[in-house]
């Protein structure tokens, strides 16, 4: 009953998800160096790039701008989120229902879980309802799986990331979005732990081209199904160039240095 077949979010088993929920999660400070990108339309434009198989945004952006991009962009509606003003323990309340996401034209939905925190139980329970609701509509579910809390001293440790992907499998996600576990070998283990769930690398904060693309190459070689990337695309001066490079690495198996040289 997995829902990944026939979804445009995955192409040839691979995905490049452009994420743009930073306006909520990080606030306008994330736009300090690229003020023109405060206008969501500029980022929706990036999402029309052929390499992008899904565009992850909160409901408000989807409502306002997606009607114009319906034909060219696949919507991955993010169903929970929080502001960085919030000083509580990691927790992300629901901001959109599955039903409304579908009305907005969503091709998939996404939900963040913080395993290991004091509110893990509430997030597991909410994910349960969201996942079953999505299944009713044959809609794929991506889990942003980010272990945190007392037991998680270092949240990118290999065993933590493998636990993160396994939780996505056990709870019924189709895609697990996780941080990079510091080595290709660890990434391969995380992919193994995920069974048939697609593992996508979380792009993280902006780094230089070479570092970023090498990371992606390593992840792909370790069996990842692609990546979810935000700041490393829309905070760049030339997002098209980096999307071209990602397309080559993720979909055509190119090496990072080929692409950089090219």
């Amino acid at each position: 009953m997995r829902s990944l077949d026939n979804t445009p979010i995955v192409q040839d088993g691979k995905s490049i998800i452009l994420a743009h929920d930073h306006g909520l999660e990080h606030g306008p400070a994330a736009f300090a160096d690229v003020p023109e990108r405060l206008d969501p339309e500029t980022v929706f434009e990036m999402a029309t790039h052929d390499a992008v198989t899904g565009f992850a945004v909160q409901k408000g952006l989807a409502e306002t701008y997606y009607p114009s991009y319906n034909d060219d962009v696949n919507l991955l509606a993010k169903l929970n989120g929080t502001s960085s003003l919030w000083m509580g323990e990691p927790y992300s309340p629901q901001t959109c229902s599955v039903e409304y996401a579908l009305e907005l034209g969503a091709d998939a939905v996404g939900y963040t879980v913080y395993p290991g925190t004091n509110r893990e139980p509430e997030m597991f329970e909410e994910f349960q309802k969201i996942q079953e609701s999505a299944r009713e509509h044959d809609t794929p579910v991506a889990m942003w799986s980010y272990p945190r809390g007392q037991a998680v001293k270092e949240h990118r440790k290999p065993e933590i990331i493998s636990y993160a992907t396994r939780i996505a499998l056990e709870l019924g996600a189709d895609i697990a979005k996780v941080k990079y576990p510091r080595s290709g070998e660890a990434m391969a283990n995380a992919v193994d732990a995920a069974g048939d769930v697609n593992v996508v690398l979380s792009g993280g904060s902006k780094t230089d081209d070479s570092e970023f693309l090498s990371l992606v190459e390593t992840a792909m070689n370790a069996g990842a199904s692609g990546l979810a990337v935000g700041r490393n695309v829309w905070q760049r001066d030339d997002p098209e160039q980096i999307l071209d490079a990602l397309e080559a690495i993720v979909f055509e198996g190119a090496a990072a240095d080929e692409v950089l040289d090219g």
Copy 2:
């Protein structure tokens, strides 16, 4: 799926919302200098002024007085509120359902969110339900977006106000009501951060004519879509005069000192 087209709350893209929820939020003390205004009918009368595109009140005032003002006033039903007797952290419980607001004849609904407080998650979740319920009925939703809490040392700081308008956009509001961020430049940034969401300036506590109208002029020049004003109208001896002035500035692009001299 935004709902601002064809709503009488916005005229030529602009709004002047007369707010009168102070009986609940501030208590009768707010009426100390204008005791005759304890009678809500006196403020409903002000709301019939041509300049006023929406009148924001709690359900109880709407139930009692709106039937007589249905033709001359556009109702913006405020859906949550709290008394100033309450000493807990900022939080505003729901006082009216969307469905009941519509029965009362509401043209739009409003909801206060305090991002950054310990109860941000509950308010985001409640806003989610209210917003989707309003969408079903094509009713515009205004968010009173007031960051507070540990991380918010100064709640009128430019980046805080830009975050406030962005949260309104991300969560699916049509109108963001925010405090003035101390400069026209900061206001312009807050308007940019809001994307297509209409940003209205919160009128705040009563100040003198010149100070108040200059503020409004600056906000309008920065791209604001108008203002939501309460005490600066109904606490004044001559509310009609100030509404005339606001009409000139907001809808006719007049300068504050023209209006004052005139």
Copy 3:
């Protein structure tokens, strides 16, 4: 959409509500001096007095005894309540649904709110649901509006009582039951703050005839719509006599000393 027209609870704009929820709120200790009144039938008999426009009891008393008094008594079903054994902060959980109250034959419903306490939000939210549910059935709603909590040093202060009646107006009650604010002038202000909501004086603990009736006279002169009285009736040896006196003051505009002399 107010529901006070055509309700038997209000006659000529006035009400005398006999309250008998003390078995729950105060416990059998309230009956120490009048042990025969432990039998609820004795108090239902008092409620048949012509002066009594409504009888306020918990569901259990209504279920057992109201079937025999249906023709002679108007039922005001109290929908929440708590025991005095409870040492928590003021809070009153729901004990009866609106729907069930109506099945029992209720002509109106009542709900206690403690604005200013830590659980104000929960009570506002519950009141919202109850009020809207009552509106569906055209049933009047009385709010026992009793501010308490940190900010309320003295709960009978004039501005507190005016806030209490205003909250009843803002949240959509038809009748506000409040404590006496220590002077007729303060009572008049509380009546003004209530707009079109009927304000009824809470009878309080038993006092002597003269003191009690003078208080009622003062309240009526200040614009109150009557009173809700319990212990000052059913704890008296001769409840009929005091009800005769209240009838004269509330419905016929008599002065307290006329009535006492008579």
Copy 4:
């Protein structure tokens, strides 16, 4: 709308309720001296005694054994319960719905309330729903009314037990099960405070025949409608003998010493 007429739980206005929820409330330790009674069938057999008008058990026992005793036993389904392993403040979560109890063939339902504890509000609210649900099906409701908490220094004090029965009346129970308030006079007051609600004595822990039966005689003389008894029956070697004795006292008005001598 009381539901006690025509219910087999009450016969000639009297009830002997055999309670057997100790497996949950006390655990297998309660069976230490009567290990064969761990088999619920042995206690169901006792419930077929003519004297027993109702058998109070948790859903699990009813599901497994009641199908065989349907004709000979009247089921009082206990709807909440807790283990003695739980060290929290007195609170008893719901373990069975009214609807399911009826499917199991229940003739009445029972619910424990601990007035005066920090969770009194939750129990009142849950009782409200259960009671109204039971009313829809004309099913009698018994309240185990056990005041506890800070204000209850001694939970068998006369005024506490009278409060306990009064709460049962006010909240709409048909039967109040309470502890013995230390004297017949106090019991009589508790019966008065209960109005038309049937008061049944809680049997408590096992005592000798003479002490136990005298207590029952005193309670009956004070106006009690019978008793709910568990350990004083099923922990005895000869349960039939004690049931014969109880039958004589409760239904035939015999004195305890007559019965003991006989």
Copy 5:
């Protein structure tokens, strides 16, 4: 209304349940010595062994792999679970609904309860809903009954395990999964306390063949209805061999040393 008749989970009154929820409960660390078993298909294969009457997994594994094993494996869908990263008190949130488990083809459902912990009430309440929902569909319910908390100094003490099985009976489970109470005699008492509920031994962490099989033999002789085993099967190099041995002991009454010698 018990649901154990005609279920394939029990055969000749006995069950061997292969449990594989360790990916969620223990994380990938559980696979450290058997990395190839990270692939759930390898464990589904074990579940096709004739000895296995039920396979207990979380929803995610069932969704992905059960469609291929539908004919050869009986699914026991585990309905709650938690990660070992969580440092809160024992509590296991719901991860799958009964309805969805049935859509996945479940033959039975399982739910973990931790009696004695601070959240016992929530788990009892959730179990109540799950159990009644399962009954509607004639689906057997297994309770993982694991007392913990302040009052439980040693959670394998005989009286604790007897309490655990009794709670399963009282709350309406069909199968109680409990830890071994340190002796055959204690196990027999736990079986007695369970009435007609099937008691299955929890396999626990991996031990050597002799120790493990002797334990199973003792439990069976004490009246257990089988076992639920995970790590002692899928962490072994030769799972088939141990399953053969368990089949002989559980279904054919063989002694542990016969089987070991054979």
